[in-house]
Amino acid sequence: MTATLEALRDTPPGTARPRSGKRGRAGQRTRTFYLFVGPWIAGFVLLTIFPLAYAFWMSLTNTDGLSPNWSYVGLDNYVRVFQDQQTIASLGRTMVFMLATVPTGVAAGLAMAVLLNRDFRGRALFRALFYLPAVVPGVAAALTFKIIFDKNAGFANAAIGATGGEPISWLADPYVRMVLIFMILWGVGGSMIVSLAALQDVPRELLEAAKVDGAGPVYSFFRITLPLLSPIIFFQVVTGVIGSLQVFVPSLLLAPVNGAAAVTAVPEGNYFFMVHVYAEYFAKSHFGYASALLWVLFLFVLLITGVVFKIGNRAVFYGGVDPSERKD
């Protein structure tokens, strides 16, 4: 208190008092901060944290969402997750799908970006054409793919037939997963556009300096371009991994039954984890068990993302710095 009074006494006339000024500005900044982030925090709590907590609560019961006589089952639903063959199989399928689509999608997007980053006539047109499938609505894409891969009248079998091959029942097991993967990769233009934007940020002087030093295009790509793109590639891998672990709608769209009932008729090859979760929720009314499945998936996604980050930290050149030389 004495020190404060002395400070006030020593303040020259006409000068704002430091105590109220600094604290006032700090308080205003704090209020402004919370004013801006408040809506997001409220939304996050109400639409993410609260439902997650309630889903956890439900996962401890056997409720079907409608019946009056639910009961607590403790951790039974979680134990069941690891005993349910359909769950384990669908998780395995999802992992295979992730491993098939994420690296392929990112690599294909990057390859297309590299091609379209070169100077040639009609470049803008090709950029637009390659990106176009990414903006086609998923439902339209799925219907188109169903027509293309129809066993009897589809273009795919017509092409196979023209070469003397036997028609394939593409929309049934085991081929239907391939159709789904084709469909996902068809939208690789999204990845291409991100990689293309990153490519255009690679400093030309670095590439020209390497050229002067005798580096060929392949060497320059792998030693200069790719490291500089690695944060963007890493971003695509992370979002791709999270998205592919939750793949759901495309499976339903390729099912032989239309509408919500499609979830009961998804061929085994496309019966991924989220399809299983949806079937458990809304076909079998296992709200408790399905909530447990969601929580397991949530933890699984966290785990896989953590592993990806761990690997990424050893390979990503943040700010152009070699990860092996980073001190943190």
Partner: protein
């Protein structure tokens, strides 16, 4: 051990307390939203049963254009808000205390389920007073909307079909019959399932492994309900008398399974191993790629819009598997009023107007299904030879209607999911009907047992 939110399991009351139930239901709604997106949450917003300037606001869960909202508002002096038909949304609305006032449903397979969960309002008192919906005018098909706690088809009425069909009947394209040199089906005598499959084989046109015309489609309105129908037609019943278990191992159940496996292995129609890319029968039938569709009277509505196709389309009775000739209804799509609705009387007004007023007359004249009121049958279209033939066959078929009881313990989708899980391998691997029956019994009865725990 039952419990409630906010109590530990050991503290939980053993009975179903209203508070705990509601609390969990709210949680259920939110959890559903977490799983299925924000759709469920938006449904939690107060919406149902309000009052706007003295007018009651009704919330109706119906597809777009099924109920003429403006006409209903003008006729009844109500304000009506429509929400999309969505199980997730319905669950959320019921759970959050904002139940819709009128809900679309499939009477044939949903009535015991919603009644056992105490969701539907019994409507007998309303029917008794109604001037538009008189008991002696209601088509017996609407018994699928009745359930007395143990038998479907008896007890209080919980809803009414907006229109219906006897869904195991057959539409066929005579041009494809002529092309294959196959005799037409009788208008009065049903074929057996074996004869039907044989016809399907004769009508199927293949070019190597590519099929240009499928002989028949035996998907119906869902695999499980068709199994129930075939078993009943063979003289048995898939469900036990108390609807608390099912048995595919009975001779009749195995007969049904065997027939379906034979059908799917013959690749003469759509199945889990021969998927229909269009998802339903109309597109292949319309384009001459399907000779026989296993569809009821309603399919004639699509056919009538295509004059050329109507000239070559005929309607035939449902096939029989054994001694008993039956012709059930698998859907009976209609409406029910939730007990939790806050506007029972006004909901009934809308229900009554829609089911017995001008909309019902308009629907009957449209030919997209049979009216629920016997007095409206005269309004069914007979303007073309195809419509007249269809109605003649339909009138004769009415005598063979039978309510197929459905279990209250599990939704039909759950049983369809089990069938779809095992059928592809069974079809491809040559699994016997007996072995498949054991697997299905095991999984389906487990689901039913779980359901029993919830409606004790």
């Amino acid at each position: 051990m039952r419990g409630s939110l906010g109590t530990t399991a050991s503290q939980a009351a053993p009975s179903k307390t209203e508070l705990s139930r509601r609390s969990l239901m709210r949680g259920t709604a939110l959890g559903a939203a977490a799983a299925a997106g924000a759709g469920a949450l938006s449904a939690c917003a107060p919406s149902a049963g309000g009052s706007d300037g003295g007018k009651t606001t009704l919330t109706v869960m119906a597809p777009e254009n099924e109920i003429d909202i403006k006409a209903a508002e003008a006729a009844l002096g109500l304000k009506i808000k429509r929400v999309e038909v969505d199980t997730t949304k319905l669950t959320a609305m019921l759970a959050s205390g904002t139940a819709p006032d009128l809900v679309r449903g499939l009477g044939a397979v949903e009535t015991p389920y919603i009644v056992a969960r105490d969701l539907a309002l019994p409507l007998d008192d309303y029917f008794a007073k109604s001037e538009l919906l008189k008991e002696d005018d209601i088509d017996p098909i609407n018994d699928v909307w009745r359930y007395d706690g143990s038998v479907q088809g008896k007890g209080p009425r919980y809803g009414l079909a907006k229109d219906y069909s006897q869904d195991a009947m057959i539409w066929y394209n005579t041009a494809l019959f002529d092309a294959a040199g196959v005799d037409y089906l009788s208008d009065t005598e049903p074929v057996t399932y074996d004869q039907w499959l044989e016809l399907g084989k004769q009508l199927t046109q293949k070019d190597g492994d590519t099929t240009s015309v499928y002989g028949l489609s035996a998907g119906g309105l869902g695999l499980f309900i068709t199994m129930v129908n075939m078993t009943a037609s063979a003289g048995g019943s898939l469900f036990a008398d108390d609807l608390g278990s099912l048995d595919f191992s009975s001779p009749e159940g195995q007969q049904a399974l065997s027939w379906y496996l034979d059908y799917a292995r013959a690749r003469v129609g759509f199945s889990p191993v021969e998927p229909n890319p269009d998802g339903w029968d109309w597109p292949p039938y319309q384009t001459g790629r399907l000779a026989m569709s296993w569809s009821g009277y309603w399919f004639g509505g699509s056919i009538a819009a295509e004059p050329a196709l109507a000239e070559t389309s005929r309607f035939a009775p449902a096939p029989v598997m054994g001694a008993e000739r039956i012709s059930p209804c698998f859907g009976a799509t209609g409406y029910w009023i939730p007990k939790a609705s806050k506007n029972h009387d006004d909901a009934w007004k809308l229900f009554e107007w829609f089911m017995g007023g001008q909309p019902a007359k308009d629907r009957a004249a449209g030919g997209w299904g049979l009216p629920s009121l016997l007095s409206l049958r005269a309004d069914l279209p007979t303007g073309t030879p195809a419509q007249a033939q269809a109605l003649t066959v339909q009138d004769a078929e009415a005598d063979y209607f039978k309510v197929l009881s459905f279990t209250p313990y599990v939704k039909v989708e759950a049983l369809d999911a089990v069938l779809n899980q095992y059928l592809p391998d069974a079809i491809n691997d040559g699994t016997s009907a007996a072995a498949l029956a054991d697997t299905l019994n095991n999984d389906m009865n487990a689901l039913i047992d779980e359901g029993k725990e919830l409606v004790k």
